[in-house]
């Protein structure tokens, strides 16, 4: 029982990280049909920034509060200067552009931070663990789950209740009509791109105490995030949340119970979902 409880906590913690990564990917895709292959780079930049801030000021909360700024700056630059310039070409050109940025961001991170693996200490108040029902639960992971839940709730409120959220939903449904009724879709896309980058960077910041910080973490998180987006359905926030948790649970329990085959379970999930519903669990069939 206690073993299961701690595994549940681990799966939820991994699940919310995946959610933060894939929510941005999914929204960007829903709005503009573009997948940002360099999305993992924002995750990595966030983690490295957090690492530096914690080293300099010894304060994790400061890192969480402002550590996402460099990643968002990179995202704005990338969207404004580069992606915007191939706006009127096919979506695939935009995807190719984002692919080129993986190399650029990767080498800039290598130049600034070097190739060593770094660790980030969790804040003191979250160090150690709690004992609940006989299970030893690390406090930091509990925090991570609550934090992820709060982010999901805030995003939900933003999309479903705010005016900008309504514009985003209109854009996801039908970008042409949305711009016809006076919504500035390119500006909206820029904002969502930045928001997605902020989410990924915050994911990287909160992931750094449990994952460590290293070059290559950008592409390592990208593949599971892609699987989450495919399983959950492109453009669906609910899909990203459900699929993120599902992948988190399957991956963690798979590793605990069938260590040799854990890797394949997540892919199996993807194949089954695609055969039954090619558009993903919560995706709308798009032409």
């Amino acid at each position: 029982m206690d073993f299961i409880l701690s595994q549940v906590l681990n799966s939820l913690a991994f699940g919310v990280l995946l959610f933060m990564m894939s929510a941005g990917l999914s929204l960007i895709f829903g709005l503009m049909n573009v997948v940002n292959i360099a999305h993992g780079s924002f995750f990595m930049i966030g983690a490295f920034t957090a690492c530096t801030l914690v080293q300099m000021y010894g304060n994790f909360w400061l890192a969480l509060a402002v550590g996402w700024v460099p990643a968002v700056a990179c995202a704005v630059l990338m969207e404004r200067v580069f992606i915007r310039s191939v706006y009127n070409r096919g979506h695939l050109d935009q995807v190719l552009l984002t692919f080129g940025f993986i190399f650029v961001f990767g080498d800039i991170a290598k130049y600034l931070w070097g190739a060593d693996i770094r660790n980030v200490a969790p804040p003191e108040i979250l160090d150690g663990s709690l004992q609940i029902a006989g299970a030893i639960l690390p406090k930091y992971r509990l925090f991570l789950v609550f934090f992820g839940g709060a982010v999901a709730a805030a995003l939900w409120w933003f999309l479903e209740r705010s005016r900008i959220g309504a514009m985003v939903r209109a854009g996801v449904d039908d970008a042409a009509t949305a711009s016809g009724i006076g919504i500035n879709v390119p500006l909206l896309f820029g904002c969502i791109f930045a928001l997605g980058a902020a989410l990924a960077a915050i994911g990287g910041i909160v992931a750094s105490p449990i994952m460590g910080v290293y070059l290559g973490m950008d592409t390592e998180i990208l593949i599971p995030a892609f699987i989450v987006v495919v399983v959950g359905g492109m453009g669906s926030l609910r899909g990203a949340l459900v699929a993120g948790l599902l992948v988190g649970v399957i991956d963690t329990f798979g590793k605990a119970y069938f260590p040799d085959y854990a890797l394949f379970l997540v892919y199996l999930l993807m194949v089954v979902v695609l055969l039954a519903r090619p558009q993903g669990l919560f995706g709308l069939a798009k032409g």
């Binding site: 895709f29 049909n33 573009v34 997948v35 292959i37 580069f82 310039s85 191939v86 070409r89 979506h91 695939l92 050109d93 995807v95 190719l96 552009l97 692919f99 080129g100 940025f101 993986i102 190399f103 650029v104 990767g106 080498d107 800039i108 290598k110 130049y111 592409t219 593949i223 892609f226 699987i227 987006v229 495919v230 492109m234 040799d260 890797l263 394949f264 892919y267 993807m270 194949v271 695609l274 055969l275 090619p278």
Partner: protein, 322 residues
């Protein structure tokens, strides 16, 4: 032009072993990039998992040789067959979706294979890879001993694939692929089973990548999991874009530029990926038709101007020709 290429390839054995090694590598990755281009440039399918087919073929050749002592030539046949079978299996799932989900799926499947190879240590050697492959002989010369023999194999493979693709894109089947790239809905409306033709393109492309992988195995006599990582799929995509998709020879030109750049820059500093990234981004933004597309475009214009001048000089002859 084809004859010129043959001459270039035949004359190259006069060069030193070092140059031959680089040339062979370029030809092998040219095969790989051209096979990817059948999907990207001709059928409009953005695959980011093409390393799977290249890699499974290399692994098959080396593993059969190391574990069972099977000659590299038979191994190469088996490797290509393995790539075709794998492409058929992955393809069945991937062609159900298109556009960006297709990209993500191909990438995920190739990473799955990468992970499987890391795990299956008894056969694949895990992260260490497989060593101890005995290269086969070509006309009595071991491929392990002679750079010229390895080069001959790479050049033969390259010319075969080039010729095959040359014919394929001019065949009715090639026209169907191009039709799917240009307007999938129209093709469907005309009555073509688009998914089935996408699968055919996927399998042919995978098989050709398998040819590249098999030649690479004979060339290198060693394999490690890097060959299956999606970094290699990405490299192939860069070669296609640099050289120019949508032409048969463009990706081969791209492979040459990419590998020469990589060799050149990495001998000066360690940040070669940054430069490759920057060049790639600029190429997507300002030179979408690729280096070969630019050259071929200029050449066609120059030829047209020459033809126009000829026609002006001899209007009677031009009239007769019509």
């Amino acid at each position: 032009m084809f004859a010129l290429l043959c001459v270039l390839l035949a004359a190259a054995p006069l060069a030193s072993d070092y140059v031959l090694g680089i040339l062979s590598e370029i030809l092998i990755f040219a095969i790989f990039a051209m096979s990817l281009n059948l999907l990207v440039g001709y059928t409009g399918l953005m695959s980011f998992g093409h390393a799977a087919f290249f890699g499974i073929s290399t692994y098959t050749v080396i593993a059969l040789g190391v574990h069972l002592g099977i000659s590299g030539w038979w191994g190469a046949m088996a490797g290509i067959a393995a790539a075709i079978v794998l492409a058929a299996i992955i393809g069945v799932f991937c062609v159900r979706v298109s556009g960006i989900p297709f990209l993500m799926l191909t990438m995920a499947f190739s990473q799955l294979l990468f992970a499987a190879v890391l795990k299956w240590r008894s056969v694949t050697g895990g992260t260490d890879g497989l060593i101890g492959f005995m290269p086969p002989e070509l006309f009595g010369v071991s491929l392990g001993a002679s750079a010229a023999a390895r080069y001959a194999v790479a050049a033969t493979g390259f010319l075969l694939v080039l010729g095959f693709l040359w014919c394929l894109v001019r065949s009715p089947l090639g026209s169907i692929f191009i039709g799917i790239r240009d307007n999938e809905q129209r093709m469907r409306a005309i009555g073509y089973p688009v998914q089935r033709f996408k699968l055919i393109a996927f399998i042919i492309s995978g098989g050709l990548a398998g040819v590249g992988g098999a030649v690479y195995a004979l060339f290198n006599a060693y394999v490690s999991p890097d060959i299956l990582h999606w970094n290699l799929s990405g490299d192939a995509m860069i070669m296609v874009v640099l050289g120019g998709g949508g032409t048969v020879i463009g990706p081969a030109v791209g492979a040459g530029i990419f590998l020469l750049l990589k060799n050149l820059i990495s001998s000066y500093n360690e940040y070669w990926a940054l430069w490759v990234g920057v060049i790639f981004i600029l190429c997507v933004m300002f030179l979408r038709q690729g280096v070969w597309g630019l050259v071929a475009g200029r050449f066609a214009k120059w030829q047209a101007r020459g033809a126009a001048a000829d026609a002006a000089a001899a209007p009677g002859a031009a009239g007769e020709a019509k």
